[in-house]
Symmetry: C3
Subunit: 537 residues, 3 copies
């Protein structure tokens, strides 16, 4: 094993070895006797890779040869400095798991089309151009498509890399799924289409693909082929697939798992009190691969954690420090960070972390740009307390072409298929009733979002008027602080994708707190302008 580790260490540019302490895993192991190890040459592999043996033997994948996923093994066995090739794409798994594979790549032709900008009347964030003024998302911020499109949609967004990456053949191929570079073309390094941004970076790709798993050290620190400071285009070129099966399923042993570094870090930093823990414990054994990368393995599937690898508020970009205003650049690990806090707690968390994302173009307030905090929002909700996990509503069981039931990997918005998503647990209710309930909660929450936006807009406009009128900086500073509070309490909810359904009470709480903060900011400015006007007389 020493030899293999040296090879790996050489390949990874690190010599540090970490002791492996693998838990005994797999439910399979508990219920039936482990089948005999197959005599297919794997024994030789196990001589060095004992952690793989621990995962694989006794598992549902025990019968699979190492060659199923690894190429060039013969060369590797002859000369261990020659690393084998590991096939990471979905098709490898899809050979057996056909229904799951097919459903993952299903294209849903929404009759209303895709690429809906959020910042339009009736959109998810109608006032975003004013409220996010100064942030890259104002260049393009569209409703997401399904997982199969996540890499190409990110790369082709006007905000990712100045429009350098476009769909081959243009709009006619916008619905294609498959390998990134079969779908997209590179318009060249000098491309910068008008009104686009260069906001893509290596970290933000970690939630779009698992292709970088073996090339990315824990948290994107230096040491792998790529790190947080790598050229974004170099990294992008290495991405062929959207998030793969291995993101949630250990390929050696089928154990439920997570691989996203910042999630693992966040859980490890608070195993007893994080949003997934029950009775002070979290079902996540963290396995450290020689100080290079870590995975977290579960005893039982907990899709709350699997989905939380991306469906969280996370920071994946450079920013500034609250304490002194100095920039925080990509060499700083705070640029790859999961808070796992809910809407009411998140500003305090970021202040403690000493990080903010950007300054508002008009007020100069230091603002947090939220991602999509579905997991934190869901935590502690009615459904969470009832033990419901994400996949139960979003990946309902369907019948495959082979007649067998499977968990659909075409992740759905439950409201689009209430029958499948809700009635399994609520058999006495009608689909009409369930849809009505969902939409009612969303209507109410949207009402509060729009009010929060009205008041934020009012605050921004009043600030500009006050500034022009020469209101003192001390007053402006108070207003900015209110803007900082009000912003995060609002944007959390346009970033979160359930329009309040995941946790209506928290949504109300947070959004009305946003309104109150904005109103307070408007008041302090208006009062000061009244004084100013009187001074003139």
């Amino acid at each position: 094993m020493l030899k293999r580790n040296l090879v790996l260490a050489a390949a990874l540019g690190t010599g540090v070895l970490t002791a492996l302490a693998l838990p005994t895993l797999t439910t399979a192991a508990k219920t039936k006797p482990a089948p005999k190890a197959v005599n297919d040459g794997r024994a030789k592999c196990y001589e060095c890779h004992e952690e793989v043996k621990a995962l694989k033997e006794g598992s549902k994948h025990a019968a699979l040869s190492c060659k199923t996923c690894h190429d060039k093994l013969d060369e590797h066995l002859k000369d261990s400095s020659k690393a084998p090739v590991t096939r990471l794409d979905h098709a490898v798994c899809g050979t057996c798991h056909k229904s799951q594979y097919d459903s993952f790549f299903e294209v849903h032709y929404d009759p209303n089309g895709a690429r809906k900008e959020k910042g339009v009347p009736g959109g998810r964030s109608p006032m975003q151009d004013k409220l996010l003024a100064g942030h890259g998302f104002t260049f393009e911020h569209t409703e997401p498509r399904g997982h199969a499109h996540m890499v190409v949609d990110q790369f082709a967004s006007d905000r990712f890399q100045g429009g350098r990456y476009q769909f081959k053949g243009g709009w006619a191929n916008y619905d294609k799924v498959g390998k990134t570079w079969d779908i997209l073309e590179d318009k060249g390094p000098n491309t910068k289409i008008p009104e686009s941004a260069m906001a893509g970076n290596p970290t933000c790709m970690q939630c779009k693909t698992s292709d970088l798993t073996l090339k990315w050290k824990f948290l994107g620190d230096k040491g792998g082929k790529f790190d947080r400071t790598s050229n974004v285009n170099d990294v992008a070129k290495a991405v062929d697939n959207p998030l793969g099966c291995i993101t949630c399923h250990d390929p050696h042993g089928t154990q439920p798992r997570v691989i996203r570094d910042a999630l693992i870090q966040a859980v490890q930093s608070n195993t007893s009190g994080n949003i997934f823990s029950k009775g002070g414990k979290t079902d996540l054994k963290v396995v450290d691969f020689r100080g290079f990368r870590k995975i977290g393995v579960m005893e039982k599937t907990d899709s709350r954690m699997m989905c939380a690898q991306c469906h969280v508020e996370y920071n994946c970009n450079a920013g500034g420090q609250w304490s002194d205003g100095k920039p925080v650049k990509y060499d700083d690990s705070r640029t790859n960070h999961f808070p796992l806090k809910n809407a009411k707690e998140i500003l305090a968390h970021y202040k403690k972390l000493d990080f903010y994302d950007f300054k508002h173009a008009i007020t100069g307030a230091r603002l947090i740009k939220l991602q999509h905090p579905e997991s934190e929002t869901y935590a502690g909700s009615t459904h969470d307390k009832a033990g419901v996990q994400c996949h139960q509503c979003h990946m309902p069981t369907k019948k495959g072409k082979d007649g067998k039931k499977f968990s659909s990997h075409s992740v759905i918005r439950p409201v689009n298929d209430v029958q499948a998503a809700c009635l399994g647990c609520h058999p006495k209710d009608s689909a009409a009733k369930k849809k009505y309930q969902i939409e009612t909660i969303r209507n109410y929450t949207k009402g509060k979002m729009r009010k929060a936006e009205y008041w934020l807009g009012n605050l921004i406009d009043t600030y500009a008027a006050a500034q022009r009128q020469g209101v003192p900086e001390t007053v402006l500073a108070q207003a900015r602080e209110k803007h900082e509070e009000a912003h995060v309490l609002w944007e959390y909810w346009t970033a979160e994708n359930s329009d309040g359904f995941h946790n209506p009470a928290l949504a109300r709480d947070s959004l009305t707190a946003s309104i109150s903060a904005s109103k307070a900011g408007v008041k302090v400015l208006n009062d000061a302008m009244l004084v100013k006007k009187d001074e003139k007389k």
Copy 2:
């Protein structure tokens, strides 16, 4: 009868008796000979209650025993100081009128959900947070559900009582119908959720329930169990049902009737020229129950009056006086008042009444908050002139489970069921054509509403700029007056629920007058700012 009256008078806290002069009513009486009085003990009741005899004998309800609706009659007969119990809820009537009863409580699971905030893009009043700034409706102002939900929806609204009353079990039971306190829970007297209002009051409940009929003196003056100044929570606790059958149907004799006090007052004050009168007469005989309450009984059903008990602009809250700015509180009967005026006349009416609802938060203009003036709008329209009444479009005839036709008491928006609502009178037209016509009128009117809102918003913004610039108060006062005009001419139409269909010509007239007034206000301010700017030079 003296004895009974004394009992009642004692119960009601009034000793004044009014002579009963009941009209001969019921169409039944005219077409067939009155059946013989049934020998079920009612003769004894009639000894005191002769007005009941007049209503009941010869009517369709003649055969019913008094015990059908009244309990504890034996005790009452033995000791008349012990008042009987009168059952007011729908179920009593529903025993026989099953289809009507069932349809009243039908739950319509709108696929778009309920509780849609009006103040959102695409909503009924997209700019309301700015245009109604300073009014309680800015805390929550949602699209209404059907009649079965009207009490619980009012009580649970964020503006009613600080969020004190919530659905038991939360959103999961939002669709429940039945008794108020089976559906809602009281979160306690200290409840005040953020960004909520305490705008509920005893008068505004009069349009949601008929449960208070025997406890509320005419106009809510002092003398009943509750009056206009009663504690809103005490009154709310006494409300078990939404508006009952007795609101429109006399329970003793089935005569069409009205019971809403402010409507009766408004009609009585102008019997020859009100919006319902024909040829200088109104088919409404007002019966005064011993100076305590009044009902109005019709010869023939006129649902225009029945619906006008609520579907009107009415004042049901405290406010201020135009003449001197002094507050108008609940002890003042103007806080329970029906103008019955259309959009063009209403401001003059309220000025004459010397009442306004609230001051705008930014301009300080004295504004009228409109309710839902469907009746006044409809008055004089094409359909009204043709003799069409409300129920013909909103309560179309359907076939019940018993195979018999009945007037559906699940009140509909005609546009949602054009087939049933329109084609009875327009048999040559297609449903597609009728829907097209309705939506076309609404589209045109909505266009004007949005323009009126743009100009009101412009006036408010310009006012703020002018005020900051120190434009003279005389100019500001002129602008405020224009705001007062423009506001009521606009809000009438977002409050009214037909989007102009009830009376498209009046809608255009009123909304364009609003636009003209706003433009005039903007002009006076801009002119003054130009002078102001020149002075600086």
Copy 3:
């Protein structure tokens, strides 16, 4: 022939004769031998009307007698000073072309209704009241209906003639098709309903009807019964039909043709490089009828030109001159002008022409009011390059009642019937996919439109603030220039009816250039206000 020409010249008030040089036309003539001339008296007509002979003989209409379309021929033959009557309405052609005729007058009952104002949230131009402030379209600017309604919809619009023309019987007859004055009524010359405009004029009717063909000299110069300076009401009264068959089909010979004067002028001024030309040539032979009017005849149908008679940006109203600000009135032929330029080129074109439409009410910027430049937008697009013409998508082939295929003259929005519009050329694709692609392009473009509007609004607001603050005129002038740029680059796309589908790349280019110009204008103003504020200190 001399005699006839003198008659015509006298009738037209012009004595100038232009030599006729008719091309040999009709594909029919090429494929089969011309049938013998029928002996129906036409020989006598041909003695004077040799250009008619050239068109008619050998064509598909060769067998038709002159009397088919012309009345009072006998009187004319006896006394050539008595002009015959020419029947121009669709019914004449409809006798034989029944399916085309019927489809033209089909009424589509849109379930969402008609007359949708564009300036509403979710509408085509949500911010138009601010962005077009000062222009007549702010009084009413609604989504168009089909061709059958185009005359009555124009006349009845609130901006056409102060509301003088209204639907007879009001909204109930809003769906009627047929003769103008069967549908509309004249409310009298003193009519001016509130918040309406008097923006109609003789030129703008040229795109709504072909009834004026024989009464309107080329470009509307003086010499015909009507000209550009005629009283708009006199002209309107002479319009009985929407654009007729003769607009695109020569009645004598069925040759594909165009008759709109400003289009012919624009093509003639640049035959080798206009948007329709291929290989430096345009398939349009212009026939000049004695200096009075011109038609353009094609060898082969090119619906790009036929539709470009109206579906272009054109100027049809008075305005002002860039050079000196002087008004351009209707006596100036620039008030009837087709630029045929795309969004990026159009401002330069109008500057060269020395014409702008109106000044913005707030900034005073000189703005172009765009019409509906579908043709210019389509030019050079993917579909255009592939040789696809307008009618292929908008007038798909259907089967008539007679079982024969015909090109539907009920012009459609392809997205409403993707099956018919797209799958003929894209047989491998599903309708769902095609609809998805169309809507996706539109979503993306709408996103950019809304952003352009946000920034234009921001520019206008900032301008007002800067002006109030006394920022120097030199700065304001720079901002106005940016407004002039940004406006036309934006409005082109809300005026164009495809939401970018006709040419998504050009849409992006233009709209982002608009955003950039607005941002530059905002910056120059904000910078100046900062200086101004500092001066105060």
